[in-house]
């Protein structure tokens, strides 16, 4: 088998194992914790026969392994159960919201990288200088920001006081065509900025240290000795090699960003999966909470898989590793 195909196969298998792990953990947590969903939907001071009926309806009377097996089969079929509060399939509730979360986290990721790379390069090429110090301070502070605080701050200043951007929702009513896309982008600015600001700090710090290391390596020394202009040494030789470990870490950060999107969507009333989590917490709608986690985990796994596969295509070293 060619190394690339072998690599792709291994990567997909790894993604599937991660997903299985996420699913199993949720199942175990939900069934083994003291406050299981059975008591949440069917409290003990309920009429005994009614309680039994409810438990049977949600398949909570069977033994654990059988419940687990049924749960897995259902998931493979794309069935995430039925929402307690909306009597609708969880997949219907969440799938309508997933595109918004993808748009939000995706754009925040792009913004983080687009701003993070120049900042990281400036810091690494001016290592120990004043510019480097500034970028480091920005990085440390950025890393320490609390997502809702940033969101509230942006909402208050840019949304309420200056009225530059809308303070909530994903788009206005009765807007169609190209205006709709512009309207969506306009609503996206504040939530996306809050999420990107928080993830920018650690990305810049990581890129800075990897790039400094990579610029000190032999191939960069050689490039300089050949008389290659410093600009090309940095952007072409150094940065390209520094991006690989950075991208892997970005994958780890994606999980954190998805968590941040729950908080951001709550503040900006953004109609994504995160807002659904917030609404379900109030109603103790466990199937939706569980489904939302599985869906978000699947998103992160898929995104990581795609990044790694793309890297396998671009960088031959990855395939053999």
């Amino acid at each position: 088998m060619p190394p690339l195909a072998w690599y792709a196969l291994r990567r997909v298998a790894h993604g599937l194992v991660t997903l299985w792990f996420a699913i199993t953990i949720t199942f175990l947590l939900l069934r083994l914790l003291p406050g299981d969903p059975a008591t949440a939907i069917a409290s003990t001071n309920m009429d005994a026969t009614m309680r039994q009926e409810l438990l049977t309806k949600y398949g909570l009377t069977e033994s654990l392994p059988i419940q687990y097996g049924k749960y897995l089969v259902q998931l493979v079929q794309g069935n995430l159960g039925t929402s307690f509060s909306q009597s609708e399939p969880v997949s219907t509730v969440l799938m309508a919201r997933l595109p918004w979360t993808l748009l939000l986290t995706g754009s925040a990721l792009v913004v983080t990288v687009a701003i993070g790379i120049p900042l990281g390069v400036v810091a690494a090429t001016h290592a120990k200088g004043a510019l480097d110090r500034i970028v480091q301070v920005v990085g440390v502070v950025g890393q320490s920001l609390f997502v809702p605080s940033v969101g509230i701050f942006l909402l208050y200043i840019l949304g309420l006081k200056l009225k530059w951007f809308p303070i909530g929702g994903a788009h206005d009513e009765n807007v169609y065509g190209i205006a709709w896309y512009l309207n969506v982008g306009w609503h996206l600015v504040l939530p996306c900025a809050s999420l990107a600001l928080v993830s920018l700090g650690s990305y810049v710090l990581i890129l800075r240290s990897t790039l400094i290391e990579s610029l000190g390596e032999d191939f960069c020394v050689l490039a300089r000795a050949k008389g290659t202009p410093e600009r090309i040494v940095v952007w072409k030789h150094g940065l390209r090699n520094a991006l690989l470990p950075t991208t892997t870490l970005l994958g780890l950060q994606l999980g954190f960003m998805v968590g941040g999107s729950v908080l951001t969507e709550t503040i900006f009333a953004y109609p994504g999966v995160g807002r659904a989590i917030y609404e379900s917490v109030i109603r103790l709608d466990f199937p939706v909470l569980q489904g939302a986690f599985v869906l978000l985990a699947a998103t992160v796994v898929a995104a990581n898989m795609i990044t790694d596969l793309a890297y396998g295509l671009l960088d031959p070293r990855v395939r053999t590793a």
Binding site: I25, F146, S149, I152, Y156, V258, T266
Partner: protein
């Protein structure tokens, strides 16, 4: 820090300087680290001395949503409670959660990390569990568990530590891996040392410096996680934390009208996390002889 201080007491730093002594010396001469340490101490003191600084914010008064003044330094919230009192008492809860969750997560993470590095056979399985849990979105999972177990301080601490140990285990494992094959470890084995003895007396001291840093960083992440959970309404409704102040501000709608209800708790979170990060950075710099020179 406690490890460094304990070492200082047993070996006086004099002519022959110990590694811990050199670290502490370098740390003391780094203004950034000292300021951060001072800040952290102030926050700890505020948390400990909360009853001396402000009355416990409860009930309601008629001074609703007053902007900051000499009477209410941080203003009042929608029920007329003093926000400074809320932040002060919140310091106590937020730091308790951070400290307890960090202690639990670090204990467990260090154990798993050391065992993984020391027993290669267990390493594959442990490493996989750690890798898998690191790549999952943790906050939605924490919300799910906290919602199931019901909001209380104990739940929050357990939930946060349960999802924080993999990070600690990863860091400790990679540090321990660089030590397990060194000659002194082989010597300990040749001497016929039991596994427990080797792990405690030889491996643990080698990873101790990493533990110091992770305790601080894990605690600050735990504070952020607690604030996130409380902000979503998963906090303990009977105690004040920084996240709960923000939650109440959002629920009552004063978040969008009265800036002081959100600015001060936000600043407290930022202050704590920045201080923790700077202490970790300064400690790492001080420990590294190469960065110590400049």
């Amino acid at each position: 820090m406690s490890i460094v201080l304990a070492d200082l007491e047993t070996e006086p730093v004099g002519q022959q300087e110990s590694a811990a002594g050199a670290t502490w010396y370098a740390f003391r001469h780094n203004p950034m680290g000292l300021v951060a340490l001072g800040l952290m101490l102030v926050l700890v003191l505020v948390g400990l001395g909360a009853p001396l600084i402000a009355h416990y914010p409860s009930g309601f008064t008629s001074d609703v949503l007053q902007s900051p003044s000499s009477l209410h330094w941080f203003g009042t919230d929608n029920l007329g409670r003093d926000i400074m009192a809320e932040v002060v008492w919140g310091t106590r809860i937020s730091m308790t959660v951070g400290f307890c969750a960090s202690l639990l997560a670090v204990t467990f993470g260090v154990l798993i990390g050391m065992l993984g590095a020391y027993f290669p056979r267990a390493d594959t399985a442990l490493g996989m569990v750690v890798d898998l849990s690191l790549s999952l979105p943790v906050l939605p999972l924490m919300i799910l568990v906290a919602a199931l177990a019901g909001p209380s301080l104990g739940t929050i601490i357990l939930v946060i530590s349960f999802f924080s140990w993999p990070e600690v285990a990863r860091v400790v494992r990679s540090q321990a891996l660089s030590v397990v094959n060194l000659p002194y470890m082989d010597a300990a084995r040749v001497l016929g040392g039991r596994h427990r003895w080797i792990l405690r007396r030889h491996l643990l001291p080698a990873v101790a410096p990493v533990i110091t840093v992770t305790v601080v960083l894990t605690a600050s992440r735990a504070v952020i996680a607690e604030a996130g959970l409380s902000f979503l309404g998963m906090g303990d409704p009977s105690s004040w934390s920084w996240g709960r102040i923000l939650y109440e501000s959002q629920q009552s709608g004063s978040m969008t009208s009265d800036w002081w209800t959100t600015l001060f708790p936000s600043a407290a979170i930022l202050l704590l996390v920045v201080a923790a990060t700077l202490i970790a950075i300064a400690y790492n710099d001080a420990r590294n002889p190469r960065s110590r020179e400049d």
